[in-house]
């Protein structure tokens, strides 16, 4: 086979794994500084290979229009007519994921040097962290479902090892176990789906390209057939486990027992997005099962809403962020569910930046507060930790969806996609409304967090003595803050970019790999999942070089419904208003008393407050917010929390308890007395004879 520079991509996986090997075997004997260099360096090399891959891929003339390139490593399974190669798939989707994973991982590795500076086990920590990066790269680069499953299990294992990293904490062990058990349920779904595809005659191999290709043909005759729906739903069950969606989200908040860089990397930026990635990877398969897509959209939307209500009332800084992650992942699934796969990936990217930043910022705060995580004990940290404050603020503005910040663009794209989905499929409108309310709540809880943590007066002695973190921690924060700000400009909304004559590079790039496939015989209305991708393409309508090729390759170009630009503007306006209301609401509810000493932003908001007070009596607004938003919100949060703790936890713990109980009961037969064993054999023999006889009689 001809050698291609793209085959270098295998090295990107090899470097972190090599790092694991070195650190795992010799880490304990190496000086601290060596460990601190090797671990980030391996990931940095992977990132550079990611950049080379991107460059080579973009310039390779044979790969125009998002053609995938398969880098073959070796034949893994060869059994009869079934073959699974260990090969890597290079296409825009995997390159995007690879860059996100290695880029964010590298920054977090650097940050961890500072964060874990005083931990005796830091070599072990970095060995696990490197292993995680290697496994995650296998996951996103795998060319087939079984190989992806290696990464899938691998990241799960690392997550589990790292949650329980501080094994002295009993709660960390329990949390690790919980994450593990819940994820196994999800894995069970992926396995079932894999077996179903394997056993089906219509799917010749488990290569992603083959699955999507076969789905294209299979979909013509079996559009939305029960088989496809079942496969997709089992895959989605796996996704709900890994990406913490209803009903399997419960492990993620507990996973915050691990060190904060782990929360940032694994439980916010990368691993938990694996489910979203899998859906985008199998976009054609999902597209021919609109019923499954609808389930994805509904579950995603419900999770986004539900988790946001819980985040409203949490007092642990990391738990607020954890529920927020669950909620944002819900948004990504909503995007996939309504057919806008590339938007899901877009939000995945911006979320990786700002959520990693939020967690690292929280880590910096916890560091400064001597390991106190309760936001009720904080306050006034802005002055003591200015870098942390400003970077945290950027991230909060991004996640809240404030214009010009990255989160605004991606979230707006999701909301717009959902809206157009609602236009094609009427009851889908409710999804839009819920998503909009969630956007409001997101802004509200984020600014509640910012205000209680950073603004006002220090509440405790600890908060007064808080100090800024060392530079090795703050520089990553600054880099991430830049990314969290500019990350959205790779994909501007079409109403903005269109008139500027500026195309949407990310969408252009991702489109061939992560768009909804449309079955020619089924018009848009029927394949409602298709709607949004269609509109996106149409609106854009700007001709870019090579675009015609893309259109043709993707089989699009007809049935394009035009979505008027003015509605798009209204949609953007709506999301701005809701985000603004959320921030304003948080400010009013948690407003400061000591105005004079406030940082700039608060002074700005205060001016708005004066205007507000002027027209409406202050207490009245208070009451209004109290009874229209805060109280219902509290009740809702309470209900959600009770549901979480009693029902969901109950089921999980109950299941474990049940099995332990049954095991205990059976154990009573294990008496150790041979006479009774013989009796057991005798009874068993009689039973077997009786069963055989009965079978014969029934026959």
């Amino acid at each position: 086979m001809e050698m291609n520079l793209l085959d270098l991509v295998g090295l990107a996986i090899a470097f972190p794994l090599l790092g694991t090997l070195i650190l795992g075997l010799f880490g304990r004997f190496m000086p601290r500084i060596a460990v601190s260099i090797i671990a980030p360096a391996t990931v940095g090399l992977s990132f550079i290979i990611g950049l080379i891959t991107l460059f080579v891929y973009r310039t390779d003339s044979a790969l125009i229009g998002g053609q995938p390139y398969v880098s073959y490593l070796f034949t893994w399974i060869q059994s009869g007519d079934f073959t699974a190669n260990f090969s890597l798939l290079i296409d825009p989707l995997s390159i995007t994921m690879m860059l996100i994973v290695t880029g964010v991982s590298f920054i977090i590795h650097v940050y961890s040097i500072g964060y874990m500076a005083h931990d005796k086990d830091h070599a072990r920590f970095f060995a696990y962290l490197n292993l995680f990066v290697g496994a995650m790269l296998i996951l996103v680069l795998a060319s087939s479902l079984p190989v992806m499953f290696i990464g899938w299990e691998g990241v799960g294992l690392c997550s589990y090892l790292l949650i329980g990293f501080w094994y002295e904490k009993a709660s960390a062990n329990i949390a690790g176990m919980k994450a593990f058990v819940v994820n196994r349920i999800g894995d069970f779904g992926v396995l079932i789906a894999m077996f179903m595809l394997f056993a089906s005659e219509n799917f010749v191999s488990l290569e992603f390209l083959d699955i999507n290709g076969a789905a294209r043909i299979f979909g013509e005759t079996n559009y939305n057939s029960p088989f496809i729906i079942a496969v997709c739903l089992f895959l989605f069950l796996g996704a709900t486990g890994k990406s913490a969606q209803i009903p399997l989200y419960i492990w993620l908040p507990d996973a915050m027992e691990g060190p904060t860089p782990v929360s940032a990397l694994i439980h916010a930026a990368t691993m938990v997005t694996a489910g979203v990635y899998m859906l985008a990877r199998l976009n054609v398969l999902f597209s021919i099962a609109p019923t499954a897509m609808l389930v994805v959209a509904v579950i995603g939307c419900a999770t986004a809403f539900f988790a946001a209500t819980i985040a409203l009332s949490q007092v642990d800084i990391k738990r607020v962020l954890a529920y927020s992650t669950v909620s944002q992942l819900g948004y990504m699934f909503l995007a996939c569910g309504v057919g806008a796969f590339w938007v899901g990936i877009f939000h995945l990217m911006t979320h990786a930046f700002f959520k990693a930043l939020l967690f690292l910022g929280a880590g910096s705060v916890i560091h400064g507060m001597s390991d106190d995580q309760d936001i009720r004990n904080m306050g006034g940290l802005a002055k003591r930790m200015p870098v942390t404050y400003w970077t945290f603020l950027v991230a909060a503005l991004a996640i809240a969806g404030v214009p010009f910040f990255s989160g605004f663009f991606s979230k707006d794209e999701i909301l717009a996609s959902t809206f157009w989905f609602g236009a094609e499929f009427p009851s889908g409108k409710i999804l839009y409304v819920i998503a909009l309310i969630t956007a409001f709540m997101t802004a509200f809880y984020m600014f509640r967090l910012v205000i209680r943590t950073f603004l006002g007066k220090p509440v405790t002695e600890k908060a007064k003595k808080a100090h800024e973190s060392p530079r090795v921690m703050t520089i990553p924060l600054i880099i991430l803050a830049v990314l969290a700000f500019v990350g959205g400009y790779v994909a501007l909304p079409h109403v903005i970019s269109g008139p500027l004559g500026y195309s949407n590079p990310l969408e252009q790039f991702l489109k061939p790999a992560a768009q909804t496939y449309q079955i020619s015989e089924h018009p848009v209305g029927e394949a409602y999942g298709v709607a949004s991708a269609e509109y996106v393409e149409t609106i854009e309508g700007v001709s870019v070089e090579g675009e015609d090729v893309i259109h043709e390759a993707a089989g699009h170009g007809e049935d394009e419904a035009h979505h008027p630009a003015d509605i798009s503007w209204y949609l953007i306006l709506a999301s701005i208003v809701f985000a603004g209301l959320g921030i304003w609401g948080a400010y009013l509810y948690f407003r400061m008393t000591d105005w004079a000493k406030l940082p700039a932003l608060s002074r700005l908001i205060r001016r708005l407050q004066i205007v507000n007070d002027w027209s409406l009596k202050k207490w009245f607004v208070d009451e209004l917010y109290q009874y229209t938003i805060v109280e219902p919100g509290k009740v809702l949060a309470q209900i959600s929390l009770i549901f979480d703790q009693v029902v969901v936890d109950g089921i999980v713990n109950g299941t474990a308890g049940f099995f332990a109980f049954v095991g205990d009961r059976i154990r009573r037969f294990q008496t150790g007395i041979v006479r009774e064993y013989a009796l057991g054999i005798l009874l068993g023999a009689v039973s077997v004879v009786i069963i055989v006889f009965i079978t014969r009689m029934v026959l």
Partner: protein
């Protein structure tokens, strides 16, 4: 008894050469101590190793030839030979490890747990002969003889450690329940003979018809199934397993859990697939129920175990439950297509053997680690999960290899266990056993919990404050032979299974 009358012309000596060689080895190792006196402890294992090597070569030479002997009673087809390879490799590494620990010049300083005599080697060779004949036999009488040839030395081996009360207890319990189960097997065989008048598998195959209401035959095959079920520890014939595996020296437990189970399953697959497959419609319900029971009870019991050897014992029971799926697949496939001599064994046999190979090396590897960790068997029998806490800090290599075997048993990717489950479950699914596969997968999910419990203890817990049982692992380098062979096999099968699958592709029903 036409099927048992054979003239010297029907004896194909190349087919039975491996068992002739090993049998000669048994005699030599048994008699040698009289001549060699004290040196026997060194010479005996050497002879055993040479004999095993010779048997391996003579097996490999008749690969693909499909030889048979004694009028087809004994068949050396590729299924037999592949199973023989597993038996011989397992015996080979076990002999090395046992020698390493018990030979006078290599013995650990305290000298405790010494085997009483060099008879351990002829006993182990006898087990191997029994196992090979079990997998080759196509006649119930020969099968019965083979099972007894395999079992009786095992009763002695289980009690080999005279200084341990538990070892003696294991021996006695194994013997009593084993004798009881043999009774069922013998009675079942006599019922089948009464009903059909023949004992050869092919004769039974021709004689039995699913339409005739012959309840004597059905009772007979049910009782034979009980006899087999005891050997491979299916629920409810499993109660002896935890006691025996816990009491026996760890390596003997591993020997039993791997070799005996592999031999038992080869025999079961042959009897059900080549003998009574026309009655599939009658036996499948019972087998399906036993499969579901075996995996569930095995896993549920393992959940609460704290003693490592007992935990592994229950784990081995659960694995037998998964393996029964292969029996169902073969029954369904062959009852639909009909068995023809020389036909490829089909993917059912292929995945059964692949699963067995993966399981065998993971389980013997795990027991070998326990053996490695505890200098005396008395302690090995009591080694608890708490004792391996923080093992990674003290003995990272032991911990990493143990973790690998446990991952394979739990079915994690890149280990043999994952692909074994993958092939087996996928094949079962494509034959329509949807409910059972879902059940098996749920069981696999459940089982991961207790395997991970051990790994958590090794990696995520600090060492216990009281002195642990595994403070001073055996320093003996020879034990590495077992552990590294198992490691290599587990990864080899998991990462490049193509080589073994290619070998298995040519496994066929002998002519």
């Amino acid at each position: 008894m036409t099927s048992m009358e054979f003239s010297p012309q029907t004896i194909d000596f190349t087919a039975i050469m491996p068992i002739i060689i090993i049998s000669a080895g048994i005699l030599v190792t048994l008699l040698l101590p009289f001549a060699a006196k004290g040196r026997a402890k060194i010479i005996n294992p050497l002879v055993a190793l040479i004999v095993l090597l010779a048997a391996f070569i003579s097996s490999a030479r008749i690969w693909d030839l499909g030889r048979a002997s004694f009028d087809g009673m004994y068949t050396a087809d590729n299924a037999t030979l592949f199973a023989s390879f597993i038996f011989i490799i397992v015996a080979f590494i076990t002999v090395i490890a046992i020698t390493a620990r018990y030979c006078p010049f290599l013995r650990s300083p305290d000298g405790e747990g010494l085997f009483a005599s060099p008879e351990v080697f002829p006993l182990m060779l006898t087990v191997v002969v029994g196992a090979i004949v079990m997998s080759a036999s196509r006649n119930l009488i020969l099968t019965f003889l083979a099972i007894e040839t395999l079992s009786i030395p095992l009763y002695v081996l289980a009690g080999m450690n005279l200084s341990s009360e538990r070892s003696k207890e294991a021996s006695l319990k194994y013997f009593l329940t084993g004798a009881f189960a043999s009774g069922f097997l013998a009675y079942g065989i006599s019922l089948i003979y009464g009903a059909v008048g023949k004992l050869g598998y092919h004769a039974i195959l021709d004689a039995c018809s699913p339409t005739a209401a012959d309840y004597t035959l059905y009772a007979g095959l049910a009782l034979v199934a009980v006899g087999f079920g005891f050997k491979v520890a299916l629920v409810p014939f499993h109660a002896w397993v935890p006691d025996v595996y816990q009491g026996s020296p760890a390596l003997i437990s591993g020997f039993m859990a791997s070799l005996v189970k592999a031999a038992g399953f080869t025999a079961i697959l042959r009897f059900f697939g080549e003998g009574i497959v026309p009655l599939y419609g009658i036996w499948w319900v019972a087998i399906a129920i036993i499969a579901a029971l075996t995996m569930t009870v095995g896993n549920l019991m393992a959940l609460n175990q704290i003693v490592l050897k007992r935990l592994l014992a229950y784990s081995s029971i659960a694995h037998a439950g998964y393996l029964l799926l292969a029996v169902l697949i073969i029954g369904k496939e062959w009852s639909e297509k009909g068995v023809t001599a020389g036909a490829p064994l089909g993917d059912a046999m292929q995945c059964a053997f692949f699963y067995l190979a993966g399981y065998v090396f993971a389980i013997i590897g795990s027991f070998a680690i326990i053996w490695w960790l505890t200098p005396s068997d008395k302690e090995g029998a009591l080694l608890e999960i708490d004792d391996v806490r923080g093992l990674n800090d003290r003995h990272p290599l032991h911990a990493a290899l143990f973790a690998l075997f446990l991952f394979s048993l739990a079915g994690f990717p890149i280990t043999a266990g994952f692909l074994g489950k993958f092939f087996l479950f996928a094949s079962a699914l494509s034959h329509g056993f949807i409910l059972l596969v879902v059940f098996a997968l749920l069981n696999a999910v459940l089982s991961a919990y207790y395997y991970l419990k051990i790994i958590v203890a090794m990696y995520m817990k600090s060492a216990p404050e009281h002195a642990s049982l595994c403070e001073e692992p055996s320093p003996n380098p020879w034990i590495y032979a077992v552990v590294w062979t198992c490691t290599l096999a587990t990864l080899w099968l998991g990462i490049i299974p193509a080589s073994i699958l290619g070998l298995l592709g040519s496994v066929s029903v002998g002519g």
